[in-house]
Symmetry: C2
Subunit: 97 residues, 2 copies
């Protein structure tokens, strides 16, 4: 599937030089650029969607995991094969003024 | 100037979705991707070329600036309008075994 891109002449020259430095063809360089930016955008979108989903869940249920428990879990991942995941529950917050 | 890119169909669909999320056209998204990667490569190349040039100069002349002086200079940039740049000179190194 061929896509036509209107590339300013000046940019085309820069792409050619940058690709030369990277030791690949201009075409390969452009393909890499498109793939990399697309992946970055996808990961970014997924990250925010996941965060929004979890935040909504916290608001709806009032249940969450304390940072102390989560930190403990994350640290144990390095030494214990299958550590027990902390369970979400309603937490009491001490809000300071 | 038009450049033709052979874009795999699957990537084309992903680009279209990512561009939609970013609120721009696929064409604009691709152009941005190419510009961003080109600039990154250029900066990277300049950085290494400059570093190589300076390193060669150090080797040839044996002159350089100590980190203590450079650090002092960099910090003074925040408070003094035109601080005096440290001058490169032959340094004696205390090499520890």
């Amino acid at each position: 599937m061929t896509t036509s891109i209107r590339l300013p002449k000046e940019l085309k020259v820069r792409v050619s030089e940058a690709a030369g430095h990277a030791g690949i063809s201009s075409h390969h360089f452009i393909l890499q650029a498109i793939e990399e930016k697309t992946l970055k955008e996808e990961l970014n979108t997924n990250f925010y969607e996941e965060a929004e989903k979890r935040y909504t869940q916290i608001i709806e249920t009032g249940e969450c995991v304390s940072w102390e428990e989560m930190r403990c879990y994350l640290e144990s991942l390095q030494s214990v094969p299958n550590p027990i995941k902390p369970i979400a529950r309603k937490l009491e917050f001490n809000v300071k003024n």
